[in-house]
Structure formats: structure tokens, C-alpha cells
């Protein structure tokens, strides 16, 4: 068994809700006790609806949000609570691809300058060596090097996404967290971007954490999936098992909600009613019980723990 490259132990990120005079009146448990191990070379999917805490989790791993409790281990080193200087050394092997690449590129900088910046910060290469590395990366993501002299608004959304990826890859990271990498792209562009991700993983020996609400993308990309609902992992396991035999009622409804062309129309008898409750005011016991058809008194009293149920793990008192 190989060593996990990244592990989370009972990670919690809570945000304070402040009332008048900055008094703390409650907290939003954006991430509430999440643990997983990421193996080298795998593509791990984090899926859930908006507001379930998947992006917060990704940003907590990067150190953008400070965890309230819990541990983050990267290559055998505990990285939460590191000093900023020690953190910087970790950062170039752990990278985050932002949801909106257009907004994460400086509109007044040419693409070339944006690509130089990470190398200026993290390495002591001279300009010529930086330029050589940028050109090779740009070729790997499938962009002509004439793009170096363009501004972000002059290129399309799919190309911006490639530039964002090139910017990350210049530092030769080991783990890349992809936050909604295809949101806002048309399907024809999405397919090429996804196959680019696959190719780059082979070339640069990357490990991906793929955060998405799009189950079709998760299914085609990931080897292992964790489903989040209101800050907790409710089910995790190999992709095929999650999609073919979902155990948790929430996973079942998510999988059922994907339109299947040529299959039965899900809108005919879609059973999941209502919307997720307010994360600042969670129901007692199981978080899903207010929408769950199987909920009983036990679900209201006790929150089910994520327990192993081959081939994955599920947090439900009454799994299928």
C-alpha cells in the first residue's frame, strides 16, 4: 500500500455569523468533519450541490481558509498552521485551479506576464530559462506561443482555462485541486478541456482533486468519488459503485437527477422534494433527514457516522 500524498483528518471550517456590535450569533459549518486520503496518481472527485462546502474544503487544503479544527497532511508533513514562509515551500507542489479563469487572470497583464509571475515568486530562474519553460508548458496545454502577447479578454473561455492551467503547471506541482474546471464551457469545448486534463495528468504525473457539481464530468474523469451534503461526506467509494449502486438516499437522488439521453425521463417521477436547509441552522441528527423519504426518529436523534460499507463508505442509518 502506497503512502497517501494528501490526507485530511476530521477537518472543520466554520464561519462565524456576526450580529450587532460584531457579536458572534452563530456559525456556518461549511466543512464539518471531513476525512479522506488521496493516493498518488488518482483523480478524486468531490461532488455536491452549491453550498455544500466543496469549494471551502478545497480552499482550506490550500490554506486560503484557516481550518477551525482537524489536520491536513501533505507528503508526510502537517501543513495546517505552518508559518507563511514554510507554507510557501509547500505551495508550489500543491496548486489550485480557480473556478473562473477569466477572473483569476489580471486583465491588464499580457498572458506572458501572468505566466512568468509564479516562476518569479517561487524559483530563481533567469528570464531566458523562465521563457523556455513557459513555452514548453504552453505547447503542452495546446496554445500557440503567439498567445503570450495577448490580453485575457482577447482569448476565448476555453483558452483562458488552458492559460490558467499552464500557469499552475509551470511550477511542476504534484497535486492540483480543480475547482469546477468546466463550469461555463460549452459541451464541445468541455470535452476537449477534459481530455487535456487527462493528457496532462499522464505527462506531468499529477494527482487531481476534482471539485464539481456536474456528475457527468465526475463520472468520466474520476476513479474515486466523495459526495458532500452540507459540509459532510455522506458517501464515498469507487466511481462505478457510486453511480451504479448508490447507497445513501441523497446520492441516489443526485444520480437519478442526471438526464440520461435515450433513457427514462427523470422529470416524470423525480422524488426528491425541497431544497437543502439553511447551513446556519442545521436540523438535528442526520442533515438530510428533512428531505429523506426513509427518515425515522433515529435519524433525528443521532447523526450517522461515515462507516465502511464495501466497496466504499456511507453515512446513513438505513443504507440501501
Amino acid at each position: 500500500m502506497t503512502q497517501a500524498i494528501l490526507s485530511l483528518g476530521d477537518l472543520q471550517v466554520h464561519f462565524a455569523v456576526r450580529g450587532p456590535f460584531n457579536r458572534r450569533v452563530g456559525s456556518i459549518k461549511a466543512v464539518d468533519g471531513v476525512s479522506f486520503d488521496l493516493m498518488p496518481g488518482e483523480v478524486f472527485g468531490l461532488v455536491g450541490e452549491s453550498g455544500c462546502g466543496k469549494s471551502t474544503l478545497g480552499k482550506a487544503i490550500m490554506g486560503i481558509h484557516k481550518p477551525t479544527a482537524g489536520e491536513i497532511w501533505f507528503e508526510g508533513q502537517r501543513i495546517d498552521g505552518l508559518t507563511p514562509a514554510a507554507r510557501r515551500a509547500v505551495r508550489h507542489s500543491l496548486q489550485y485551479a480557480y473556478q473562473d479563469p477569466g477572473a483569476s487572470l489580471d486583465p491588464r497583464w499580457k498572458i506572458g506576464s501572468s505566466l512568468h509571475e509564479p516562476l518569479v515568486i517561487h524559483t530563481d530562474l533567469d528570464a531566458a530559462a523562465r521563457d523556455a519553460r513557459i513555452r514548453s508548458i504552453l505547447e503542452a496545454v495546446g496554445l500557440p506561443d503567439t498567445h503570450l502577447d495577448l490580453y485575457p479578454h482577447e482569448i476565448s473561455g476555453g483558452q483562458q482555462r488552458r492559460v490558467g492551467l499552464a500557469r499552475i503547471l509551470t511550477l511542476h506541482p504534484k497535486v492540483v485541486i480543480l475547482d469546477e474546471p468546466t463550469s461555463g464551457l460549452d459541451v464541445s469545448v468541455q470535452a476537449t478541456v477534459l481530455s487535456l486534463f487527462r493528457g496532462l495528468r499522464e505527462t506531468f504525473d499529477l494527482t487531481y482533486v476534482l471539485i464539481s457539481h456536474d456528475l457527468a464530468v465526475i463520472r468520466t474523469m474520476c476513479s474515486r468519488v466523495a459526495v458532500m451534503y452540507l459540509g459532510r461526506i455522506v458517501e464515498s467509494g469507487p466511481t462505478d459503485a457510486i453511480f451504479d449502486r448508490p447507497r445513501h438516499p441523497y446520492t441516489r437522488s443526485l444520480v437519478a437527477a442526471i438526464p440520461k439521453i435515450g433513457g427514462v425521463r427523470v422529470t416524470r417521477d423525480f422524488w426528491l422534494q425541497g431544497e437543502p436547509p439553511d447551513p446556519g441552522n442545521l436540523p438535528s441528527g442526520c442533515r438530510f433527514r428533512t428531505r429523506c423519504p426513509k427518515a425515522t426518529d433515529l435519524c433525528a436523534r443521532e447523526e450517522p457516522a461515515l462507516s465502511a460499507l464495501a466497496p466504499g463508505a456511507v453515512a446513513c442509518h438505513f443504507p440501501d
Binding site: D186, T192, A256, P259, V266, R268
Partner: protein, 343 residues
């Protein structure tokens, strides 16, 4: 049977600094009563512009219609008197569900106020022209008896779109509601004037997959129950498959294919449609994108606008736009070399 709405050879474009962008090039479509028609295409293909042209809400300074007809119940909306279109059709017989429920409400009024404001002008019970004598229409009063009837209709419809406790819902401000609730309110607002046609512009793009399934189911059910035609523009082929009776595909401002939904997904004929379907993500990861990019519309490619990205293209494709090729069963395609093997 004549169609409820028929768009024939509509061409229009926008004047831009770089020149005239031809956004729609001889586009045709038709919808019958009670039919849900999907208008599918990628961003920039002109589907939203077409929806706006039908509603007549294109920017007046820059948009220029260069040909074609939009006939609704027999009247040509492009040549009819604008005042009468506004009085009887726009917002009454044809209503609109916007893409983004987050920015479509005014944040400083309660949703109840905003719904009643619409009904003051567009209620099916208000037949009289607004304003009395020399008073401008804006300051005319909302008759109390009609207001009461309208309010009852609102409560009934909020119940129909499955919003819990409608009377409390109406007192809330938009920020107190979730995206799904706002989209349900938008659908209710579109149905309140008693329309014949609802234009829904990507109504589920901003929503999560489980909420999307709920909203799509709602649109389908209400369209059938109330015999309302729905023009659903979407880039999501899955959503189109779920609720549409027929699908029209657009590419770069041209309509390329139209078919009843089952035929469309079983036997797509246009090379663009087949490539679009092949680029949907699937379990074994064999999805292929479409090489190349959508062309610019200021100097679009001649003939069929898909020819630079199509491996079947030859001389005629570059010269002349293909005519409509009827494949039977309401299925037509505009292509010189359609896929026929599957049909």
C-alpha cells in the same frame, strides 16, 4: 393546422464598431399550442437573440432586422403597431422566463409587490386601456376589486408551482429566497397573464442538478395542463431530452436541424448535431470535442457556417447555404451531406 408562432427566414444583426455582425441568418421555426420546443445551441449561436427578437426586446439603436417574418396567431409582430403589440401580446400572450433568477428581481421590493406590479398592467382580467383622460398611464389606479381577484390568482399559481406557504412567500425580499424558489416565482410570473407562449431562456442553467430536475418537471407539467407552448432555449442537451417535444439546433446564427425529440436523439442527421452529441461526457471517457472554434459573426464563413469545422464539407458547402432537406416525420436538416445511415 396553423402554428401558434412561426418564424420565417428571420435575418438580423447588430451594428458594432468592427462592422455589422450577422447574428441570425434566415432562421425558421414554428411552435404549436401546448408544444415544448427546445432551441439548442452553444453560446453565441444566436438562440437568446432569436428569443428576444420574438419578444421584440432587442436594443433599438444597434439591432437591425434585415428580413423575414415573425407571425404569432397570424399577425406579423415585426410590422404590427408597436403599441398594440405591447398592449395585447408582449407580456400577455407571450411571456418570458429569464436565465438568471438572481438578478431578475429588484432587490429593494418584496416579491409580492413585484408580482402585483406586473398584474396591474398585464392581468388577464384587465381589458381596458390604461389611464383616464389626460392622466398618463403610469399614475392610473389599480382597481381594488380586480386587485383582490388578481391576488387570489397569484396565491393559486404559487401553489401550482409548489411554493410552500404562498402568502408568507409574497412578503419576502428576493435575497431571502433560494435560487430554486426564485425560479419558481419567475415561472409563476410568466404564467399569471395567461399566455399562449412562454419563452424560457436557459431556465435551469444557474441551478443545481436536483433543483433542475424539479424545475424541468414543473415546466413540462404546467405546459401540458395549461396548454401553453414553451420555447426552451438551452445548451444542455440532457435538459432538452427531458421535457421537449421537438428540438431545433442552431449553429452560429443558422438553424441546422429540427426533429421530434425521439428521432432527434436516435438519428441525428447534421454533422454538427452528431458531433455535439458525441461531446457529451460519458462513463468510459471517450467524449470528443469539436475541433476549431465558433466563427466570428462579422465576417462569417459563406454557405453553411459549419463548413470550416466539418470533415464532410466540399465546394457547394462553401458557396451556398444548404436548403431544407425533409427526412420525413417532421425531421429536416440543412446539409448537403447529412448522416442518413441511421435513418
Amino acid at each position: 393546422m396553423t402554428a401558434l408562432l412561426a418564424v420565417e427566414d428571420l435575418s438580423l444583426g447588430f451594428a458594432t464598431e468592427a462592422g455589422f455582425a450577422s447574428v441570425l441568418d434566415r432562421v425558421s421555426l414554428s411552435i404549436e399550442r401546448g408544444q415544448v420546443l427546445g432551441l439548442v445551441g452553444e453560446s453565441g449561436c444566436g438562440k437568446t437573440t432569436l428569443a428576444r427578437a420574438i419578444l421584440g426586446v432587442l436594443p433599438r439603436e444597434t439591432a437591425r432586422i434585415t428580413g423575414g417574418r415573425v407571425s404569432f396567431r397570424g399577425t406579423d409582430l415585426l410590422t404590427a403597431d408597436p403599441a398594440s403589440v405591447n398592449q395585447t401580446i408582449r407580456g400577455r400572450a407571450i411571456t418570458f422566463v429569464p436565465q438568471d433568477p438572481f438578478t431578475s428581481f429588484n432587490p429593494v421590493f418584496t416579491v409580492g409587490d413585484q408580482i402585483m406590479e406586473i398584474l396591474k398592467w398585464k392581468s388577464p382580467r384587465a381589458d381596458q386601456p390604461h389611464g383616464r383622460g389626460w392622466l398618463p398611464a403610469v399614475v392610473s389606479r389599480y382597481p381594488a376589486d380586480r386587485k383582490r381577484l388578481d391576488f387570489d390568482a397569484v396565491l393559486e399559481l404559487l401553489d401550482a408551482v409548489q411554493l410552500p406557504r404562498p402568502d408568507q412567500m409574497l412578503r419576502k425580499y428576493p435575497h431571502e429566497l433560494s435560487g430554486g424558489q426564485r425560479q419558481r416565482l419567475m415561472i409563476a410570473m410568466a404564467l399569471l397573464p395567461g399566455p399562449d407562449l412562454v419563452i424560457a431562456d436557459e431556465p435551469t442553467t444557474a441551478l443545481d442538478v436536483t433543483i433542475q430536475a424539479q424545475i424541468l418537471g414543473l415546466i413540462r407539467r404546467l405546459a401540458t395542463e395549461r396548454n401553453v407552448a414553451v420555447l426552451l432555449t438551452t445548451h444542455d442537451l440532457g435538459a432538452a431530452y427531458e421535457i421537449c417535444d421537438a428540438v431545433n439546433v442552431m449553429y452560429a446564427g443558422q438553424d441546422v436541424e429540427s426533429a421530434p425529440v425521439d428521432r432527434f436523439f436516435a438519428a441525428p442527421a447534421h454533422p454538427y448535431t452528431t458531433k455535439l452529441l458525441a461531446s457529451l461526457p460519458d462513463a468510459d471517457g471517450t467524449a470528443r470535442g469539436i475541433p476549431g472554434e465558433v466563427p466570428g459573426l462579422i465576417t462569417p464563413p459563406g454557405g453553411c457556417r459549419f463548413h470550416p469545422r466539418c470533415e464532410r464539407a466540399d465546394g457547394p458547402c462553401r458557396e451556398e447555404r444548404p436548403p431544407v432537406d425533409q427526412l420525413g416525420g417532421g425531421h429536416w436538416v440543412r446539409c448537403y451531406h447529412p448522416h442518413r445511415e441511421a435513418t
